[in-house]
């Protein structure tokens, strides 16, 4: 079975802190994604990566950056956390080009106080 693992399930951070959310997949997938999910807004794409050291902005990249140094790992970075970044963050991965099933991690609930 495909496994997408997010390092932290629940986090509480202070405003202004630098926050790292880590994601690892074990199926040698080329594509990895970070989404955020908010009530009434569904899932919105923050960043995605289709290869090591490659990254593309999604719909809401402001306030975030990403890193993909190894194929299996995709990190989301909040340089200076703000309260409006309180949300659930979902990592996902998929194989090859468009048209393949996407697999999600369990989600990371981030609260910024």
């Amino acid at each position: 079975d495909v496994k997408v693992t997010q390092s932290s399930r629940y986090l509480v951070k202070r405003t202004g802190e630098k926050v790292f959310l880590e994601c690892v997949q074990d199926m040698d997938h080329e594509n990895m994604f970070w989404y955020r999910q908010d009530p009434g807004l569904g899932l919105r794409l923050i960043y995605f990566s289709y290869d090591v050291k490659m990254k593309e902005k999604g719909d809401i990249p402001e306030g975030y950056s990403v890193s993909r140094e190894k194929k299996e790992r995709f990190s989301l970075i909040l340089e200076s956390a703000s309260t409006n970044q309180t949300s659930m963050y979902l990592c996902a991965s998929s194989f090859g080009r468009a048209g393949n099933t996407i697999y999600f991690g369990e989600g990371s609930w981030l609260t910024v106080v």
Binding site: N31, G40, L41, G42, L43, L45, A98, N100
Partner: protein, 108 residues
Amino acid sequence: GIQVEQSPPDLILQEGANSTLRCNFSDSVNNLQWFHQNPWGQLINLFYIPSGTKQNGRLSATTVATERYSLLYISSSQTTDSGVYFCAVDGYSGAGSYQLTFGKGTKL
């Protein structure tokens, strides 16, 4: 970009009842997937169905690509079906693209 609308936004069912969830999309797609998010937040892929009909146990899905909609059928619903159902599409771009656009979900 492509727009995805799901209906109804909320649904309450008695155990054993059947239901139909709808997903409308605004443009041609080369990838349509249905997901179930359980109450603990885990998103599970149910179907990859850019066209045609598929069945998996009590669940089935039909996509009519020419009319830009997809339907998810749940028969003999159970308490474990609770959660949020999302439709997600990837618009056709010739060379293909990597990202899915999600609807806002149906909460069951």
